[in-house]
């Protein structure tokens, strides 16, 4: 996909096949569905499970005909590795018919792997405790400063 994005002119109107993860949303517009397919290292090694950073995302808009077939599952996002698909279609660079959109007009979509829910990390305990203590302490200090707390008298 990097070469498609780097040299869009050369691939314009060509039939290409890409493999990647559907991320974001299913833009269901009735007879077509718009999706973003990412082809980057996170497809095979999601950050939340591997913990390995591998740069920014590389994605391309894909227009699918019809509805999203059953079994795809939720698109990728935080806590979800989206469906992995192989899409074959015509690459259109700044397509005049759609007013200058660059996308892949899909003619064939193969589901390789359904989407998968990834384990959501629990709360960062240290951050939670420190944050709660700091907030409570600071609010108490400010309340005392503004004489909002009752004063204790010595008997």
């Amino acid at each position: 996909m990097s070469s498609l994005l780097a040299l869009p002119d050369e691939y314009d109107q060509q039939v290409v096949t890409i493999r990647g993860e559907i991320v974001g949303d299913y833009g269901d517009r009735g007879n077509v569905v718009w999706v973003q397919v990412n082809d980057d290292p996170y497809v095979d090694e999601p950050l939340s499970t591997s913990g390995r950073l591998a740069g920014t995302n590389t994605g391309l808009s894909v227009r699918l005909t019809g509805a999203i077939p059953d079994g795809f599952g939720a698109p990728g996002g935080h806590g979800v590795r989206g469906p992995i698909v192989e899409v074959t279609g015509v690459f259109r660079d700044l397509d005049p018919a759609l007013g200058g959109i660059t996308f892949l007009e899909a003619t064939d979509v193969v589901l390789i792997e359904s989407s998968e829910r990834l384990p959501e990390p629990g709360a960062d305990t240290a951050a939670l405790v420190t944050g709660a203590m700091l907030t409570a302490g600071a609010l108490l200090a400010m309340a005392q400063r503004r004489d909002l707390l009752p004063k204790r008298s010595l008997s």
């Binding site: 939340s48 990390p121 400063r145």
Partner: protein, 485 residues
């Protein structure tokens, strides 16, 4: 000084409550704990400053107000990194500081990695930073604060025009304008998201709120890695364009429009209409010459959106960085010049600003007229901006000084990038983008960029947003502290 700084920083704690609530609603527990830590830290800093015995009962003079403004814009990004760095989407802490500074200065350059899997609450936080920074962190605090230093704090944040004699009333007006635009902008974008783009209503709201904050505050962050290209919709682009224009308009102009006053003769309106028309034509001509797009409608759509995005200082794009980098010649020049010129003064946009460009042109024209007219003839030196105003030598000196400082800022970043081995074109483009708070990128800004260049861009964003004066005051304060008066 510490007292004011503390209370301004306290605004961040209030702002963090929104993504905290979002994180709790979406079950993003780790992010929620980081937002709680952020709220605790900012509240503790605010409380500590409040308890400093020397910080009460002292008037804030002009220079102290400027120093507070400059320090605020260094400290707040550092605090704002807590949830960003905690997300695990940054290689180095300074990358998260870069993004926080980029967000607050409404630049829009980003070093976040795997953005498409970032927790929604953290993504929302990035956009809230743009909203907070675009409106002005200090301006937000001025809604609640009042005092002798309010005016210098207001001006220290790079604002010049007050709509009302009272700074606090001006701050409230600016927030009222923004709230009105938010209600309409988010509502319309969300409706398009659901009805036209077929998004799930919850996600449509998330996208529309994020894009509204980035567009109206001319920030340029987007919730997805492909920026506005993600939406594949001319209607969506048109609404975003309207919001970008509204963001690049000065709040003084918003005030005049709200009061139904004539704005056609306003020097800023006339200047920006002229400079935008020229840069748009140059960009479209350039795109046609290099054959990026052949047909009229896509040529105008792509050219218009990017020229507008550059001139308003937003930084949204509908093409990839790689494709943008391939725009050479006139197209490159049109976009780069549009970025350098920027929006209106006292708006959320950066750059040299239309008022300075207009006044510089007027001053040059008057000088030529004076030379051509008979000796003793008097040339009227006035301009129209919310009424007739006189051009005096001090104003012109200030216009040329700040404009030249911007040019110097653009060149200094480019020189560093050149020294690090980048080509002149990308080096200049990225430097202008950082200094003028735009955010368009041809690929120089990336997670593996040299640390030195990253620091230079951070400084450029900071200096460009505050428009030099507050920085000079901070440097003077630091020098007097170290060397004594």
């Amino acid at each position: 000084m510490a007292h004011d700084l503390g209370r301004i920083i306290g605004v961040v704690a209030l702002a963090a409550a929104v993504p905290l609530a979002w994180a709790l609603a979406r079950g993003e527990w780790r992010s929620a704990s980081h937002f709680l830590l952020l709220m605790g830290l900012t509240t503790a800093v605010a409380a500590s400053a409040d308890r400093l015995p020397s910080s009460h009962g002292r008037n804030v003079d002009w220079s102290h107000g400027m120093v507070v403004a400059a320090l605020t814009w260094l400290i707040v990004p550092a605090l704002a990194t807590v949830p960003l760095w905690g997300s695990g989407h940054y290689s180095r802490w300074i990358d998260s500081y870069f993004d926080a500074m980029s967000g607050l200065t409404t630049t829009g350059l980003a070093l976040v990695q795997d953005l498409d899997h970032l927790p929604e609450s953290v993504n929302l936080w990035r956009h809230i930073l743009q909203f907070l920074g675009g409106q002005g962190i200090i301006l937000a605090a001025l809604m609640f604060l009042a005092g002798s230093g309010a005016l210098s704090l207001f001006e220290g944040e790079g604002r010049e025009h007050r709509m009302f004699p009272n700074v606090r009333t001006t701050a409230r007006f600016i927030w009222r304008v923004s709230a009105t635009h938010a209600a309409i902008g988010i509502g319309v974008l969300a409706s398009v998201g659901v009805l036209v783009q077929g998004f799930d209503p919850g996600r449509a709201f998330f996208h529309s709120a994020s894009i509204f904050m980035a567009a109206f505050d001319t920030g340029g962050f987007s919730p997805m890695s492909t920026s506005i290209a993600y939406y594949n919709s001319p209607i969506f682009e048109a609404i975003v364009a309207v919001l970008m224009i509204a963001g690049a308009m000065s709040f003084g102009l918003h005030h005049a429009i709200w009061q139904r006053r004539r704005v056609a003769g306003n020097i800023e309106v006339r200047t920006i209409a002229f400079t935008f028309s020229v840069t748009l034509l140059v960009t479209i001509l350039g795109l046609a010459l290099i054959g990026v797009v052949d047909e009229f409608y896509p040529l105008v759509r792509v050219g218009l959106f990017h020229a507008l995005s550059a001139h308003t200082g937003t930084g949204f794009s509908t093409v990839s960085s790689a494709e943008l980098a391939s725009w050479s010649g006139l197209a490159f020049g049109g976009i780069a010049i549009a970025m350098a010129l920027g929006g209106m003064s006292s708006s959320t946009a950066g750059g040299v600003k239309a008022l300075r460009i207009g006044l510089a042109i007027r001053a040059m024209r008057d000088t030529v007229r004076e030379a051509l007219l008979p000796e003793g003839a008097v040339v009227s030196r006035t301009f129209t901006q919310y009424g007739k105003q006189h051009i005096n030598p001090n104003l012109i000196r200030s216009v040329f000084t700040i404009s030249l400082l911007y040019v110097g800022l653009y060149l200094s970043g480019a020189a560093v990038a050149l020294g690090l081995g980048y080509d002149l074109g990308p080096a200049l483009f990225e430097s202008i983008s950082a200094s003028a708070a735009v955010g368009l990128s041809v690929g120089v800004v990336s997670p593996d960029m040299p640390l030195l260049l990253e620091i230079v861009y951070i400084l450029q964003m900071w200096v460009g947003r505050l428009e030099f004066v507050a920085i000079a005051a901070l440097l003077g304060f630091a020098a007097s502290t170290v060397f004594g008066k």
